[in-house]
Symmetry: C2
């Protein structure tokens, strides 16, 4: 776990993850477990589908973004507890061999109303492939620890 507290971040702060290569095996493994639709499982069938080739499950794409966030530079003491996600979109399909990178931007920082020594951050996540195309975007609220007890 990293060393950030609520007070260490502010709206506009951006964090860039490492790059991550998505393999065909990983796409098929995830789909077998969680999203067994043919266009996530079988290259030949996928060619004749609306995806015109093998594509990662949208939930796999989201899970990869979480991995990149949790192994990236924005690490809070005690972790970040996801409270909710909105506007989750997959503008371009994630493909075998793609290299992706996540940028997390903080849009709001506030004290928690219910938990002392905690706060809420609002983030905007954008994951792009090697061509700069957005393969995933969403907004989320997460609870993180604060260094100071709220005065409110």
């Amino acid at each position: 776990m990293g060393g950030l507290y609520l007070e260490d971040v502010k709206p506009g702060d951006r964090f860039r993850s490492d790059a991550y290569v998505v393999t065909e095996t990983a796409i098929i493994d995830f789909a077998q477990q969680f999203d067994p639709q043919p266009f996530h499982l079988d290259c030949d069938v996928a060619e004749r589908s609306v995806f015109e080739g093998l594509a990662a499950s949208g939930w796999h794409t989201a899970a990869i973004a979480m991995r990149l966030m949790m192994t990236g530079p924005m690490q809070f003491v005690g972790g970040a507890i996801g409270l909710g996600v909105d506007e989750l979109r997959w503008p371009v399909a994630l493909r075998p061999g793609d290299t992706v990178q996540l940028v997390t931007e903080i849009s709001e920082v506030r004290a928690s109303r219910s938990k002392p020594r905690h706060g809420i951050i609002r983030i905007s996540n954008l994951m792009r492939n090697q061509h700069g195309e957005v393969v995933l975007s969403y907004r989320a609220n997460a609870m993180v620890q604060a260094r100071q007890v709220n005065e409110s």
Copy 2:
């Protein structure tokens, strides 16, 4: 792949999945791959966290719901392509040993504006544990095949 087309569903239709048991091993395996925060990985550390015990990653919870939807009674010819998800929430944590079940309700059905012989369904997903508590909820739009070419 199942046999439903756009024309076979209408707002208010509900589909109930099989029950699914979530194991501690599955929670830890997923977290190691995609969400390596201690409260998803280690029972002892999790006891002292805000979760007060091991809890599944929210993205694991969402992936399990997808599995239940894709292996359940609502199967469209050619699959269902997720277009977007909103209001993704985790009101109660998913725990080792929980048995979950997903109910999908269709809230809207319309022809696609851009793709002939396709339509958009809007769904509301609720996944509950064995106590009837909601462990996941969200709304989503998905593209499915239509039997007839749109007349619009």
